[in-house]
Structure formats: C-alpha cells, structure tokens
Symmetry: C2
Subunit: 136 residues, 2 copies
C-alpha cells in the first residue's frame, strides 16, 4: 500500500462515491503531483482486491465506492439527480430473477432510472398548461 493508493482510498472514504476524475481532483487538493493515470490504475487494483466497487449511474462515468457502501441508486433521467434507497427494496426482485433466470442480481452495481418526484410534478404541470392552451 503506497502513499498514492492510500490517498485514493481515503478520497473514496471521504467522498463516499465519486468518479475517477472527482477522486483525482480530491487527491490533488493535498498532493497535486498525483497523476490521473495513477488514480485509474489504483481504482482498478483496489477493485480487483474487492476493496472498492464501481456503479454505473447510466450516463457518463462510473462512480466508485468502498465496499460495504451498499445501497441502490435512483437516477432521474430528467434532471440527473441521484437518490439512494435501501437495498432491501430489491429483495423480492432478486429472488424472482434467481428463480426465473438463475440470475444472481447485484443490486448495487447498476442504478435504477426514472423520474424523480420534483420532475414528475414539473412534467404534470407542463401537461396541464398545454391542455389549457389547447382548450383556449
């Protein structure tokens, strides 16, 4: 465990989840000489060792987090907001998929996509407005 690797891991512990770029910035705040290449290589290494894992939030870069940070990500594909919810909500689905497909679901690795509450309301408001315009 070299100083650079410790820095990357510390950054992840502090940020909870972050893209490689974000980790790099965070590390460079204290140690500006650390290269983005090193961050990528360290993340890869730590992942092989099962110390960290990565999650695809759908659009763009994957985010890394320390193992044990286990929850489901809810990504709004309208505003980009990322919520989290307990992994518990997936337990039934997990059983269903295992039974039907032999598929062992890893609920933390991929995010769920949809529309968050504020955006749902915003959309409803738009539709109401459009309907009224149509009537007028």
């Amino acid at each position: 465990m070299t100083p650079q690797r410790q820095l990357v891991l510390d950054a992840l512990l502090e940020l909870e989840h972050a893209t490689p770029e974000q980790v790099c910035h965070h590390v460079q705040r204290t140690t500006p000489t650390v290269n983005i290449t090193t961050v990528y290589r360290t993340l890869e290494l730590l992942e092989e060792l099962s110390v960290i894992r990565h999650t695809h939030l759908g659009h763009g870069a994957p985010t890394y987090s320390v193992d044990g940070h286990e929850h489901v990500h809810l990504v709004c594909h309208r505003c980009g907001r990322v919520d989290e919810t307990d992994i518990e909500v997936m337990s039934e689905l997990c059983g269903t998929l295992r039974a039907a497909h032999g598929f062992a679901l890893d609920a933390t690795h991929l995010a769920l996509s949809g529309t968050c509450e504020p955006c749902t309301r915003a959309k409803a408001a738009e539709n109401t407005q459009r309907a009224q315009e149509g009537q007028a």
Copy 2:
C-alpha cells in the same frame, strides 16, 4: 423523414438493440456513404421524437432500441452476456419506489447487473476446486 433517417430506423428495427457504432455498420452494409455523424444525429432526433429510446447496459456505449421494445435487461458483469426478461418482474418494485420516494421507475432504461447462471456455476466450481486444493 430523409432516406438516411429511414435507414437508421430500419437498422434499429432489424437489430432490436444496437449501439450507434453497430447501427452505423449495419446501415453502411447497404449504403456505405452514410456517416457516423449522421447516425448520431439521427438517433438523437428520433429519441427526441420518442420514436426510439436508449438503455445503458453498464459498460461502454449505450444501446438504442425502438420504443415499444419493452423489457428489462440483465447484464452479467462476469461474462458480459445480456439477457432479457419481462418488465412485469419490476412492477412491485416500481410501486414501492413510487410510494417511498415519489420516484417513477423506468425499468427499461437501465439494465440490472449481476451474475448469470453459467457464471454462477463456474464460480461455484472454482470455489469447490479451491477448497479441495486447500484440503489436500
């Protein structure tokens, strides 16, 4: 609807889902002059018109499919295999998330990640082997 746009849409109808690159290759089999730029622009346009949609399968490029091709993708993060299952399996989860977070789940937009059956068996076999080696 220009010829190029029709070609892109036809390619998607035939391929069911495909990355922009795959669409481009498919289109170029019949019309080699079509540019990848046009494919991207057409996909973007068709998506705005809600004719097609895209799904992030986790690693790498997004895949596009025609609207109505509604099922859930199960991606194995060990072998990369992509299975599909009925959207029905998500209905309970969908209700739970709506009630708890006001989150309107779009089950088709993001894939679910896990380990497929063959890979689960392969892993189990590896573990058995390792255990036997340890005993010997």
